[in-house]
Symmetry: C2
């Protein structure tokens, strides 16, 4: 076998990076569970026709084929899921008779998109989603809850400050309708490109695809310029002089989201009226998230309310959700050298070995420490003690245990060595597990 090479777009972390990812996952999961979200997983595949319901994403899908599959086989075409929202909506419909509504779940899985890889964009990546769905109707307060959960989860991580930008589709659609624009969805898709192509080009797009007059295009861009960390944005919108009932409904919902965030997490949220989200299934609040210093790479956590994604016949399950793009977040921070970890192994103590005849005694010490929750490994060989200490040093293992009469344990960072008993010795809490730090 020749030396293998990486595959573009399919990132793999080295052990210290993967350790950081694992600590991030543990923290995110624990915050999600504190809010009562249940763990859920869906299969990695969906029938291809399900994945292609949203026309725009068809280019991103990976299709599966069994290597030994007969040509013209009657097996359904399967593709890898490209997000966790579409599979979740399908799961809810499939199992609606067995679920308790409102249904709160978190889902942390890999997703795949056949996009062209570029910095911060991957073909395989991990998303961490929360969603709440209910039967028939979903109270609006869940739209205010999403940013708080994410604020707690991301706020518990050693990363730069995040800002969640919030908007509401009803505000945009109501406003466009109030302006008399014939195709509000086309207008929304044009505004979604604002950061990429700038206001002049968006103005042209509005004319070309949404049939907007120059005055309408100007009014659309005026709305998109509004941004505020508090409910004052609503006054700015009203000052534009457009009147529509859907606009009023959306403004009230957006004010509630922003005011709740102000009360529980000051500085976390801003109302930003240019946020549109390209996906066409959102119907209310939408979220994007900027990471301070990495704004140009786009959102690291996005979502919104969808009223019609999970519907079949008379069954309708409106929902709201938000998704942390964990691989993307880590890729940016690793790339900028912003994250460090105290050690790349879980091991807190290495038990040294005088000779192979004493391995059983060393194993006994390791077992005693593990019974009390301390991660331990025994030295791989009875090399000279200096070499065994270097084994610990190279991995960042803080303590080396020397069996003897009595045993002793050495903090190899300070050089301090003290007598110790495996039945009672406990490391400082801060050394028990690897600790991630912001650099």
């Amino acid at each position: 076998m020749s030396k293998p090479r990486p595959i573009s777009g399919f990132p793999e972390w080295l052990p210290p990076q993967r350790m950081i990812e694992q600590r991030f996952l543990d923290k995110i999961k624990s915050v999600f569970e504190l809010y009562g979200y249940s763990p859920l997983e869906t299969r990695a595949v969906e029938p291809l026709d399900q994945l292609l319901r949203k026309g725009e994403t068809s280019k991103e899908v990976y299709v599966l084929r069994r290597l030994q599959e007969e040509a013209g086989s009657s097996e359904d075409s399967l593709g890898l899921h490209f997000d966790l929202t579409v599979p979740f909506a399908r799961y809810v419909l499939e199992n609606s008779g067995k679920l308790q509504f409102p249904f709160r779940r978190y889902q942390i899985q890999k997703v795949w998109r056949g996009e062209r890889p570029q910095e911060g964009r991957y073909r395989e990546f991990v998303q961490c989603d929360i969603d709440v769905v209910d039967r028939d109707t979903l109270p609006a307060h869940y739209e205010a809850e999403m940013p708080l959960v994410i604020g707690d989860a991301l706020g518990a991580l050693p990363i730069p400050k995040v800002t969640i930008q919030v908007n509401n589709r009803k505000v945009c659609e109501g406003y466009y309708r109030g302006l008399g624009i014939g195709d509000p969805e086309a207008a929304l898709r044009a505004v979604d490109k604002l950061d990429k192509i700038g206001p002049a080009r968006v103005g042209e797009l509005l004319a070309e695809t949404a049939g907007a007059t120059p005055a309408q295009a100007k009014a659309v861009l005026a709305l998109a310029e509004i941004s505020a960390p508090d409910a004052s944005f609503a006054d700015s919108v009203r000052a534009l002089g457009v009147s529509d009932p859907l606009l009023d409904e959306g403004l009230a919902e957006l004010v509630a989201v922003v005011e709740t965030a102000q009360a529980y997490a000051p500085g976390l949220c801003v109302a930003d009226l240019k946020i549109a989200r390209g996906l066409d299934y959102y119907t209310g609040t939408v979220y994007e998230t900027q990471l301070a210093g990495f704004e140009r790479f786009g959102s690291i956590c996005s979502g919104g309310r969808y009223d019609n994604l999970a519907s079949a016949g008379n069954d309708r399950f409106p929902g709201v959700g938000i998704s942390i793009g964990l691989t993307r977040l880590l890729g940016l921070l690793f790339g900028a050298g912003k994250l460090g970890i105290s050690r790349e192994v879980p091991t807190c103590v290495l038990v040294a070995l005088a000779d192979e005849e004493h391995r059983r005694a060393a194993d006994d010490i390791a077992a005693a420490l593990r019974r009390r929750g301390i991660p331990v490994e025994v030295s791989p060989t009875a090399a000279k003690y200096g070499k065994q200490i270097r084994h610990a040093e190279r991995r960042g293992i803080p303590f080396v245990w020397f069996p003897g009469a009595p045993d002793s344990v050495k903090d190899i960072r300070s050089g301090d060595q003290v007598d110790a008993d495996a039945a009672t010795w406990t490391p400082p809490e801060s050394d028990l597990h690897p600790v991630v730090t912001q650099l």
Copy 2:
């Protein structure tokens, strides 16, 4: 959208089952980390030629294609991995310059096989692997460590008793060589089918594929009949009168594995000389695991030592590993109704709501409890209290909190209600998180 249906071979759990899986994963991971194994993940895909290196598995591979990929594209063919050992060996070769050896890692991921689905067999399933690899040589004591880690991990789960069956390829190959059989690998593959097709048919296979004489076939079957929970198996093997240096080496290694297991986990391991493992990359100790009451479904945890899987040029990284087939284990136990859970949500406390005007006050209580690590949700609506209590009951949430002056909290199982302060009240430790029980 019409009501979606399951896809055969791609299991999805309902919320209580998935909660059980999550608790199992948490426990397995925590035991792996106690032994100093580092978390690792590899991408889901490998170049197809890597996956097909082992001829026998080609039928199982799922091949990927981008939906918009041009015909005759020069992109490498990619397939989904069918286990975690082959990708891990590739990862070690690819990153050998950046890893610390011996390298201990655990890896918990889904794998995919395009096999025909049947009870206990899936096309998508989760494996939980540990492996140790070293550069050039790997000390044999790691072969004795594998069953101990698995014994601790599975022993911490509320499942029927497991028995790890251990053998050593060197014993079989040395013995076959000592017998004068020309193709020991073919003999091994025949013996691997013993449980499926019985000794008579294996005897015929030995003649057909390994060129064994009737006397040789009889001797091969005599070895396969040997099984013992202690080192006495070695005497039984020697009593068969075959002599070979590789056989002696294998016997010594197998005795060490069995004796270590006897010392640390009596009753966990048996030497079982018929265990062969179909995969041809094993070179030393091999493991399979029986679950009491489910023996007929085959092994739920398997692995072995491989000296040549991760090799390129002069670089050689012998390893040993073992893998818990978690989906398979759960599928069998769910199917038999053997597992229960105290609740299907993480939520320990539901905060009741007198009216929507008091939602902010209820959110304050929830936030105070969460800060002390207690999973809480606030009632979705200000329905009558009886309905809010039923919301908790249906999910198994043990406590309902009533805001008031003072607040009170009710254990809805006993009906006991006491005054409580969100800054100090703590649930019993046994109620803090859902608990899995064996039924």
